[in-house]
Amino acid sequence: MPDKSRADQTSDETPRGVSRRELIKGVIAAGAVSSGAYLFRSSIVRADQAAAGSVERLVTLSVNGQQRRVDVMKQETLATTLRYKLGLTGTKLGCDRSECGACTVLIDDVPHYSCSILTHTARGKQITTIEGLASADGTLHPVQQGVVSEQGFQCAFCMSGFIMATVGFLKVNPNPTRAELAHGISGNLCRCQDYDKILTAMMCGAENLRKVS
C-alpha cells in the first residue's frame, strides 16, 4: 500500500504557488476532464489554501493502470467521477447508499462501494473497475470467463459489482469454499437471479483463476 505521508499526498497536486486562474488555464490546456458547470459549488467556508489538508479540485487518479487528470468537486463520489467524468459506465449505481454493491470497484485491490467514497479519498491509489479486468487483447479475466461459462446472471446490472467483489475476495482467499465465497461477496445484492447460480459462476471463475496463476 502506498505510504500516505504528506509529501506524497501533495505530490500529485498542483504546486501551491500557482494562482487559481493559472490553475484553471492549465487545466484547460492540459485537456483534463472537466466537470459539469456546477455553479453553486462555492462553499460557505472560503477554501483555506494555507490550512493543512486543504484539497484542490484538479486531481490525478490512477484508474485501470492509467493516470487520469480530472476536475473533481469536493463532495463528488468516486462512482460519479468514474461514470460521468471518465466514461467508465460499467460501474453501476444501484442504490448510491452502500446497500447493493453494484458500484463495487477495487481500490488498492480491496473492494469498495464507489458510491460511498469521495473521489478525493481515492487519490494516489490504484482503482480498478470492470473495464480494467480484461487484457488489452480482449481476453477475459478468469472470473469474467466463469460468468460467461455459467451464465451466472440475468439482467446483469449487479454483475460488474459481483465480479469486482469476487476478484477482490480471491486476492485474499484464492481457494474459497462455496460458503466462504458467499460470505466474501455478500455485500452485493441481486434482484433477478438466485444467488446459487451466481455463486456457481464465481466458483468457476475462482477455479479459472487458480489455473492461470
Partner: protein, 848 residues
C-alpha cells in the same frame, strides 16, 4: 398423459423427444460478453453532447392539492434551464386496442407530474439544469403551497365508517357492467372503472373475531357450483385470514431515462421490459405518432412487471428536452424509485375451505381486499381467485373482492400478479388441513391438482368455464417428491436442542403465454440470418432464446444468426410485452411462423430455379434441397435470388395480416435478402398456463426466532425447455423473489402521517446471498405443451408463489399452526408467538 400434439410437426408424440439441435441446449447468449466487460449500456450509461440533467420535486404530503408554485427564485439561478409541471404535459389520451376498440383515458389516471398528489413522493414538477447539484439547489428554492387533504394508507381503515378516502372521489374502484354486445358489431370496450365511496358498517367490523378479516360489502363477485353445499357437506372446514405484503419491485436498475429530439422524432433511452411495446406507450403519453418515437433499450436492469412498457416518468426528460433543445438525462435515485418504482399490491384475504376427510377440496369461499394504491385498479384481486380456482380445482367456489384506494405509491403487476397472493392465501390452509386430517403435504396437494384441460375462473356469459392448454403439475410433484427425498426428510425428528426443523411443499401456477405476434428476419446473401427481435432484454434471455427456434427450423448453425435488438429505429417487429410470462410462448410461435414463411419462400425459390413443386424441397444444412437428393441451393444463393425476384421474396410485397408496426419495419428491410415475416395465427385450444411445485426445508432457532432455509427445490411444468440455464435462472430467480416475500420484504408506514418510514434496502429487506437457501436446485418436467408448436411455455411467474409458500409451509411444519398469519415472517413474529403460544403479530394492520 399429454394429448397428442396437433400442430407441432416436430413433435409427433411426446413420448419420443424430438431431436432438437439447439432447443434444449445451453449456449452463450449474444449479450453476455458486453455485460461481463461493462460495455453493456443501460439507460443511464448513455451520454449526449450538451446533456442536461433533470430532477424531481416530490410531494411531501400523502394527499393534497397544490395551491401555488413559486419557482421564480429557482429559475433565476444560473444553470437552471427549465421547469416542467403538469400543465406542460399532454392531456391523457385514449388508447386503442388491437381490435380497434377505443379505451377512453382514465380521468383519475397517473400522469407523471401532478398538482393533486395522492401519495408522498409523487412528482410535482421537474427541474432541468446543467447538473444534478444545481437541480437539487434549485428545488430547495421552490416554494409550494399545499392544501393538505385527509389521507388513508390502510385499506381496512378507509372502509371504516367516517374514515378518510384516498381520493376526493372515494375509496374503492367499481367496474360497471359492460353494455350488452350488439350483433354484427365488434364487442364494446370494457367500461371505464369508477371510484366511489364505500364504508362498511360498525357491525361488519364487530362481526369479525380477533384476527379475522371483517367482510363487509364487496364490489365484485363471481361463483360457480354450489359452494354453500360444498362447505356444508365437508368433513373439515377451515376459515383462515392471511395478509400478503406490499412489496416494491426493487429492480436493481432504477427507471432512469435520457431523451433527445432529432428531426421531429424523440429518442428515448429508457429502462423497459419490452422494446416494441414501449413505442405505443410513449407515443400515447406524448401525443405523438408511433413513427416519431424511437426507443433505445439494449439492456434493462430488471423489471418484474414494473417496467412492462417502460415508465410514465420517461416522458419528463423527453418533454424537458423539447423545452430546452438539449438532451436531458433524468437519473432516478433509489429513494425516488421507492416512490415511483411500483409495487405489488397487498391482499387481505379470508378463505373458507371445505375438505373431505381424504383431503379433497369440496368448496372455497374466498374474500379479498386488494390495496390498489392511489391509481389504477389492480387486477390482483380477481386474478387471485382465478388462480386459486385453477390450482386447487374446487368443484364449487365463490369469490368476492374489492379494490381499495390508498395514499401509497402506485401499484402494478409484479411477477405472478394476483396469482401469488392467491397461492399465499390458500397454501397455509392446505398445509393446516394436511395436519388436521393427517394427510401428507405432498399427497393433499396432489389430490387437488389440475390435469389436462383443467377449468379456470368463473363461468363465461354462456355458462361455460375457460380451461387451460395443459397441466402436468402432478408430474412435477412426483418428480419433486423423489428428488427432494421427501419421505426420508419427513422421517427425521422435528426438534433437537434449541432448533426445530420442518419441510414444506407448495404449488403455484400462472399465465404462461399469449398469441398473435409477429416474427421478422432476413436471410442475406452472405448466408447469415439477420433476426429482428422486438423482445426486451431484461436478462431472461428470451430476447435471443426464442429465436433459437428460427435456427432450429431452418437448420442453420446458431453462429450464422445475428440478432438485432434494443432499438426500435432498427426495424423490429411487433412483439408481445415482456410481462406475464407470455414471451417464450408468444415469441417462439412468432419465430416459428416466420421460419415457416422463410421455409416456404425458400422452397418456392428452389422450385422456381430448379423445377418441381415447392413441396419437393426441404430446408436444412444451410441449404434448400430436393428431397431425396439432386438440385439444391445455399441459403446465400437463395437470398440473392430473393432480391432478384423481389415481390414477396425480398419484402416488396408484404402479407396482409401482419401488424402495421411490423410492416413499417419490414418495409425498411426490403431488398436486402429473403425477407421472412409472419403473424402467429395458429390455433390454440385453451389458455396457456405454467406450474411449479416448490419443496423446502427450514431450521428454526426457537430461542431467537431466526430461521434458515436449508434446501429448496423447484420443479417446473413449463413445457419444452428452450434454454436450460436461462430457465433455471428464471425458476430459481423468481423463487428467490417469492422467498423474499416469505422472509422479509415489506413496507412500513407511519399511519398518523401517512408516510413511509422504510425506504431503504435495509428497511424493505430484499434477500441477500446469505439469506438464500443453502442449497437450491431446479428441475423441469419437460412435457411439451400440446397447444403450441415447440411446446414451450413461459415460467417467470409461478415460481414466486411456490418459493414463498414452500418456505412458510415448512415453517408451519416446524412450529405448528399458531405462529403467523401474514407474510413476511421474521424472527420477531416467531419469537413473540412462541413465547405467548398464540399468533402475536398484529393481524390486519397494513404496512407494519
Amino acid at each position: 398423459m399429454p394429448a397428442k400434439s396437433t400442430i407441432n410437426p416436430l413433435v409427433q408424440n411426446s413420448s419420443e423427444k424430438p431431436a432438437y439441435k439447439l432447443i434444449g441446449q445451453n449456449y452463450t447468449t449474444p449479450d453476455l460478453v458486453a455485460k461481463v466487460t461493462g460495455r453493456a449500456k443501460y439507460a443511464e450509461d448513455y451520454r449526449a453532447e450538451g446533456m442536461l440533467f433533470a430532477k424531481l420535486l416530490l410531494s411531501p404530503v400523502p394527499h393534497a392539492h397544490v395551491r401555488s408554485i413559486d419557482a421564480s427564485e429557482a429559475l433565476a439561478m444560473p444553470g437552471v434551464k427549465a421547469i416542467l409541471t403538469v400543465d406542460d404535459l399532454p392531456a391523457p389520451a385514449d388508447a386503442m386496442t388491437d381490435l380497434g376498440q377505443v379505451i377512453p383515458a382514465n380521468k383519475l389516471g397517473e400522469r407523471g407530474l401532478t398538482n393533486d398528489p395522492v401519495y408522498q413522493g409523487e412528482p410535482i414538477l421537474a427541474v432541468c439544469a446543467v447538473d444534478e447539484y444545481t437541480c437539487a439547489e434549485a428545488i430547495e428554492k421552490i416554494h409550494i403551497e399545499y392544501e393538505r387533504l385527509p389521507h388513508a394508507v390502510d385499506p381496512l381503515v378507509t372502509l371504516r365508517p367516517g374514515a378518510a378516502n384516498a381520493r376526493v372521489e372515494g375509496n374503492v374502484w367499481v367496474r360497471p357492467d359492460p353494455p350488452p354486445p350488439v350483433k354484427g358489431q365488434p364487442p364494446p370496450p370494457p367500461p371505464a372503472p369508477q371510484v366511489q365511496e364505500l364504508k362498511w358498517t360498525a357491525q361488519d367490523f364487530a362481526d369479525a373475531k380477533d384476527g379475522q378479516l371483517p367482510m363487509g360489502k364487496a364490489t365484485d363477485h363471481w361463483s360457480f357450483g354450489d359452494w354453500e353445499a360444498g362447505l356444508k357437506n365437508a368433513d373439515l372446514v377451515l376459515d383462515e385470514t392471511f395478509v400478503t405484503p406490499n412489496t416494491s419491485h426493487q429492480t436493481l436498475e432504477t427507471r432512469t431515462a435520457m431523451a433527445y429530439w432529432q428531426n421531429g422524432k424523440v429518442y428515448v433511452h429508457c429502462s423497459t421490459q419490452s422494446t416494441s411495446q414501449t413505442v405505443p406507450a410513449l407515443a400515447r403519453w406524448l401525443h405523438l405518432d408511433m413513427s416519431d418515437v424511437v426507443v433505445i433499450s439494449e439492456y434493462t436492469g430488471g423489471g418484474f412487471g414494473s417496467k412492462i412498457t417502460s415508465a410514465i416518468s420517461a416522458i419528463i426528460p423527453a418533454l424537458l428536452s423539447k423545452k430546452t433543445g438539449a438532451p436531458v438525462m433524468m437519473r432516478i435515485s433509489r429513494e425516488e424509485e421507492h416512490y415511483i418504482g411500483r409495487a405489488r399490491p397487498s391482499i387481505h384475504g379470508r378463505l373458507k375451505v371445505g375438505f373431505t376427510k381424504d383431503g379433497r377440496i369440496t368448496a372455497i369461499d374466498m374474500y379479498v381486499i386488494c390495496d390498489s394504491g392511489p391509481y389504477d385498479p389492480q387486477g390482483d384481486a380477481n386474478q387471485s381467485g382465478r388462480m386459486v380456482s385453477l390450482m386447487y380445482q374446487p368443484p364449487a367456489m365463490r369469490w368476492r373482492g374489492l379494490s381499495v384506494l390508498t395514499n401509497t405509491p402506485p401499484r402494478v403487476s409484479q411477477s405472478q400478479p394476483g396469482g401469488f397472493q392467491g397461492i399465499v392465501l390458500m397454501e397455509p390452509i392446505i398445509s393446516k388441513a394436511s395436519r388436521k386430517l393427517g394427510i401428507d403435504q405432498v399427497a393433499i396437494h396432489r389430490i387437488n391438482m389440475p390435469e389436462g384441460k383443467a377449468n379456470i375462473g368463473p363461468p363465461l356469459p354462456n355458462g361455460k368455464r375457460l380451461y387451460v392448454t395443459s397441466a402436468f403439475i402432478k408430474e412435477a410433484l412426483d418428480i419433486g417428491h423423489e428428488k427432494f427425498r421427501w419421505d426420508e426428510r419427513k422421517a427425521l425428528p422435528k426438534r433437537s436442542g434449541t432448533k426445530a426443523r420442518g419441510i414444506g411443499v407448495a404449488t403455484s401456477c400462472f399465465v404462461g403465454g399469449s398469441v398473435g405476434f409477429d416474427g421478422l428476419f432476413v436471410i442475406k446473401p452472405d448466408g447469415k440470418i439477420y433476426i429482428q427481435s422486438g423482445i426486451g432484454n431484461l436478462g431472461t434471455e428470451s430476447v435471443s432464446d426464442c429465436h433459437r427456434v428460427t435456427a432450429e427450423i431452418l437448420g442453420v448453425p446458431w453462429e450464422k444468426c445475428e440478432i438485432t435488438w434494443g432499438h426500435t429505429g432498427r426495424n423490429l417487429p411487433w412483439t408481445c410485452p415482456s410481462g406475464g410470462s407470455q414471451t417464450t410462448h408468444a415469441m417462439t410461435r412468432a419465430a416459428y411462423v416466420a421460419a415457416l414463411d422463410a421455409k416456404d419462400k425458400l422452397q418456392q425459390i428452389a422450385a422456381k430455379d430448379h423445377g418441381g413443386k415447392p413441396e419437393d424441397y426441404e430446408v436444412g444444412g444451410e441449404r434448400v434441397y430436393r428431397k431425396g437428393g439432386g438440385a439444391s441451393m445455399t441459403l446465400a444463393q437463395a437470398a440473392t435470388r430473393a432480391i432478384e425476384l423481389g415481390g414477396i421474396y425480398d419484402g416488396h410485397e408484404l402479407p396482409k395480416g401482419i401488424n402495421k408496426f411490423t410492416a413499417a419495419s419490414a418495409k425498411n428491410l426490403t431488398g436486402q435478402g429473403l425477407l421472412a415475416v409472419a403473424r402467429d395465427t395458429m390455433p390454440r385450444d385453451g389458455q396457456t398456463h405454467s406450474y411449479v411445485a416448490g419443496f423446502a426445508e427450514v431450521e428454526v432457532d426457537l430461542e431467537t426466532g431466526k430461521y434458515r432455509i436449508l434446501d429448496y427445490l423447484a420443479v417446473a411444468d413449463v413445457g419444452t425447455v428452450i434454454h436450460p440455464r436461462a430457465l433455471g435462472g428464471q425458476v430459481l430467480g423468481r423463487s428467490m423473489l417469492g422467498i423474499g416475500h416469505a422472509i422479509g420484504q415489506k413496507w412500513v408506514y407511519d399511519q398518523h402521517y401517512g408516510l413511509p418510514v422504510a425506504k431503504r434496502f435495509h428497511h424493505t429487506k430484499p434477500p441477500t446471498i446469505l439469506d438464500a437457501p443453502e442449497n437450491m436446485a431446479w428441475e423441469a418436467v419437460g412435457i411439451p405443451d400440446p397447444e403450441t408448436p415447440i411446446g414451450a411455455r413461459g415460467i417467470g411467474e409461478p415460481p414466486v408463489g411456490a418459493g414463498c409458500m414452500a418456505i412458510l409451509n415448512a415453517l408451519s411444519d416446524a412450529l405448528g399452526d399458531d405462529v403467523f398469519r401474514r407474510a413476511p415472517v421474521l424472527a420477531d413474529t416467531i419469537l413473540a408467538s412462541l413465547e405467548a403460544g398464540r399468533p402475536m403479530e398484529e393481524g390486519l394492520t397494513a404496512h407494519i
